[in-house]
Symmetry: C2
Subunit: 227 residues, 2 copies
């Protein structure tokens, strides 16, 4: 469902070129639950942003569900992001002046869902991540792990066929982590595709495949050793 070929992402800084990704080729199959690991700065978030249609590569091709994503215009990309993809950001990116329910409703507004149904679905999703007692809190009235779970709820509320989660348990204790991973298992069992960045081996083991990155590309040698 996700096919990346020879992806390159370069940042130009003054006279220098910084290769965040280079020679990156990778395939994620429909309905797969994969974990993405690698050292800090190895390009995981950059790769996730490209897969999530939030960023475009400097070169290379990205075919999503048979569609050549690089050829799409901004409106078409926004439509894919809203309908097909749920994204949990490493830095959450919640809107500070809205409370938890309002933040989680956002993807449903774009999808044209009625106010009553939006509120019901947002509440339901917040309950599923253990936040029924924090629905009216704004982000600055929430703990780090509670904000993380609002970000997860917002990614799930539209029932996306592809869930991209960048360090979704980075601020969660082992029990809340376990609850979130159980939720991911449930979503996976419905046939959805999940790609999750994590730096914790215990969390990665909950996925069915571990993809390792190093210096901006896939560490194929390590991947071969592990299978």
């Amino acid at each position: 469902v996700i096919l990346l070929n020879n992806i390159e992402k370069v940042y130009v800084m003054g006279q220098q070129k910084l290769y965040a990704l280079q020679n990156l080729s990778c395939e994620i199959f429909k309905g797969e639950f994969a974990a993405l690991m690698g050292p800090s700065g190895s390009g995981k978030s950059t790769l996730m942003n490209i897969i999530g249609c939030l960023d475009t590569p400097t070169s290379g091709s990205y075919i999503l569900n048979g569609t050549d994503v690089i050829k799409l215009n901004d409106n078409q990309l926004a439509e894919i992001r809203n309908k097909e993809i749920g994204f949990v950001f490493q830095t959450f990116n919640l809107l500070p002046r809205m409370n938890a329910i309002e933040n989680v409703e956002l993807p449903l507004i774009y999808a044209g869902i009625s106010k009553k149904e939006r509120t019901d679905r947002a509440k339901e999703t917040l309950i599923s991540v253990g936040l029924e007692n924090r629905m009216n809190h704004k982000p600055n009235e929430l703990s780090g792990g509670q904000r993380q779970r609002v970000a997860i709820a917002r990614a799930l509320v539209n029932n996306p066929s592809i869930l991209l989660a960048d360090e979704p348990t980075g601020n969660l204790d082992s029990r809340s982590s376990g609850e979130i991973l159980d939720l991911f298992d449930k979503i996976h069992s419905f046939g959805n595709t999940i790609l999750m960045v994590t730096h914790e081996e215990d969390v990665a083991k909950r996925a069915k495949r571990i993809i390792r990155m190093i210096d901006g590309h896939i560490d194929t040698l390590q991947n071969i050793r592990e299978t």
Copy 2:
């Protein structure tokens, strides 16, 4: 060095009172390296903010190095924060328009250090957290784990006698984590006091004592079981 007695922190939300901390008493000894653990929302960051003189309790007493902190005015608190305490925030709190070096120099500006020495010390500290190749990057040009390490460098640059670190390895792979924890060991060996929040047992084991919190207070039963 840190003595908290019967600390309470209440948030009033409309008609309700939310007890983020209640009946919390705790002592941290000079030169100790302790880990603080507990479920998401149990009050760890709230406690850290009070210890770090960034927030005041609703009631209770806090004696730091023999000084009654609650009686101090804002200027005196700012002085303590700058001279005695280094704080690594759970959400980093870097200034977006400054690059890594400029962010790390900030505590030294308050301390009245000259420009040349500030830059030297900031560079040195950034090298010690593995960021010698990212010194001129702004936060949005850095990965999550790189931003975390800039936040750590900023907390260390003033050589504080008390280091408060809220989830300092939350975004780091195991190798970068290990390097940061080695650095903490070194700081500890110089006689400094470290209190570190973490949700990972492996990281907590690097400390000499684990303090567990639950529902806004210290879990004394669990603490007794572990000693």
